[in-house]
């Protein structure tokens, strides 16, 4: 039992250790601050700034969009529907299922939809697809947080004559740190996912300037460079993976710290 636990905990450190030991030597300031030059993928000059920014744009855009969509849904199933009503349960089941859908399905669907609408692979396409992917994460996380709010807080607001809409503002305030955690989790997932963006966001050596421009992402940069036969390019993939890992770990650690804060302050 202890052995199994050691293996599981160890696998985390093994993964991070492997990435650090291979990626760190290849990491340089140039990699972080420049976009790829013409022969970058043959070992030429340049960096992966385009991918870093592309990923951040996509993750930020989709987190924002998903937040705008998810909050009303969570409010609706918690404040407007009665507790354990069939519709609430069905919605929750629906989101459980959507949560389990692999990103490749979202990617394939998103791309099909884009072709149908006559859109090119672009930053916008990536944002929309990743939004679809992370809405279930947000809805589920926020739903769980709101369900921990004591019923008496709802009642306190209701008994002052507040409507459900007015009460939901109070509830949102109460769970604000939980919502931030949900957003961070979703952001982390959005920034790390490849399968959903590989067709929909396209690929580009430039930093996207508008929503219609194609955009490269960090995970895609890792993936593409790794398949290069040039050794130097491969080691860049490791460095890019290291950058991605650092970003994602920072995000998940802050999400954890935040949610701990939340449970400390709860009444």
């Amino acid at each position: 039992m202890v052995f199994a636990t050691v293996i599981i905990v160890g696998s985390f450190f093994l993964i991070v250790g492997t990435i650090v030991s291979k990626g760190f030597p290849a990491l340089s300031w140039e990699m972080l601050s420049e976009i790829p030059s013409g022969d970058f993928y043959m070992g030429g000059e340049g960096g992966i700034l385009n991918s870093i920014l592309g990923s951040l744009y996509i993750a930020a855009g989709s987190s924002l969009l998903a937040l705008i969509i998810s909050v009303p849904i969570v409010i609706y199933i918690n404040m407007y529907l009665k507790k354990s009503s069939w519709m609430g349960n069905l919605t929750r089941l629906g989101y459980d299922v959507l949560f389990g859908m692999p990103s490749i399905v979202y990617g394939a669907f998103g791309f099909t939809l884009m072709i149908y609408l006559g859109m090119r692979a672009s930053l916008l396409g990536g944002i929309v697809t990743v939004t679809l992917l992370i809405i279930p994460i947000m809805v589920r996380t926020m739903d769980e947080v709101i369900r921990t709010v004591p019923k008496e807080l709802f009642d306190a607001s209701y008994s002052l004559g507040a409507t459900r809409l007015e009460t939901s503002r109070v509830v949102l305030k109460q769970v604000a740190p939980g919502i931030l955690t949900a957003v961070l989790l979703a952001f982390g997932r959005g920034i790390g996912d490849v399968a959903s963006v590989m067709f929909t966001a396209g690929f580009s050596n430039d930093i996207p300037k508008s929503l219609e421009d194609p955009a490269s992402t960090l995970p895609l940069a890792v993936f593409n460079q790794l398949s290069s036969p040039v050794e130097e390019v491969q080691s860049r993939a490791y460095a890019a993976a290291l950058v991605l890992t650092i970003i994602v770990l920072l995000i998940s650690i802050s999400a954890r710290v935040l949610s701990k804060r939340l449970s400390k302050n709860k009444i």
Binding site: T5, F12, T18, P102, I104, F109, L165, V194
Partner: protein, 296 residues
Amino acid sequence: MNIRLIKDKLAGSTMLILTLASVLLAILVGWGLYYKSLPLLEENSVWDLLSSSVWKPSKGEFGFFAFIMGTLWVTGIAIVIALPLCLLCAIFISEYAHPRLRKIVVPVVDLLSGIPPVVFGVWGVLFVVPLIEDYIAPVFVDYPMGYSVLAGGIVLGVMIFPLIISLLLEVFSAVPKEMRDASLSMGATQWQTVKFVLLRKSKPGIIVSVVLAVSRAFGETIAVLMVCGSVIMVPGSVFDPGYPLPALIANNYGEMLSAPEYESALLFAAFLLFVIIFLFNAISRIVLGRIKRKIE
């Protein structure tokens, strides 16, 4: 009527529409994929598609058997690796571990779940593949290859650790403490209590967890694709390369726009994933919900 009440109602209807629309989206995804795979389904029977292993897109022959077997091999290996380890680890965390130790293990498992697939893939390429090629495979076969379904299975197994552990912990926490106390007070050892009370009581929950883990493993794309070789063949042993369904989509979709039949075939693969995962998830979530409700 009061303007506040109108606002309340209006907001309610808007949110209702949004909620309905978002759930409809799930159906739309399934329907869209189905619609796109119709051209393929009109020409071939589902059974032929699933059982044939001839894959010649240029000739219009699409047999998914090799890909399905690739998926099954990788998933099977992943579960065989992950389930015993996770079961032991979850028992340790929930029954034996000192709370302070638990506070270290659980966050690490959480962090593991946050690592992006592509990083798992890189780790697989850097660590698992050489390990198999240089140390494990040579013992068993003559021409060792690192890129294999075993590599895919190992990487995937590690990837689903966090999911299985968190599900199992949830299932275990649903077994009331009094039940354990009753067993312990009758003189049973801790391990006997685990075996006869905890595991027996949570059997349905454990099965559900496995089903959910399987469905997660089915759909995982990039990490597996990076290490399992992507050779179209029905794997004969764990050291053979394989080509799972999601990898098929990821490698070829986007480049086949000129061939509508090819596109249709790839979207059929996506539809297949959708249906399997939809069913697995829906059923197991319903069962899991039942289990949870029983305790409340």
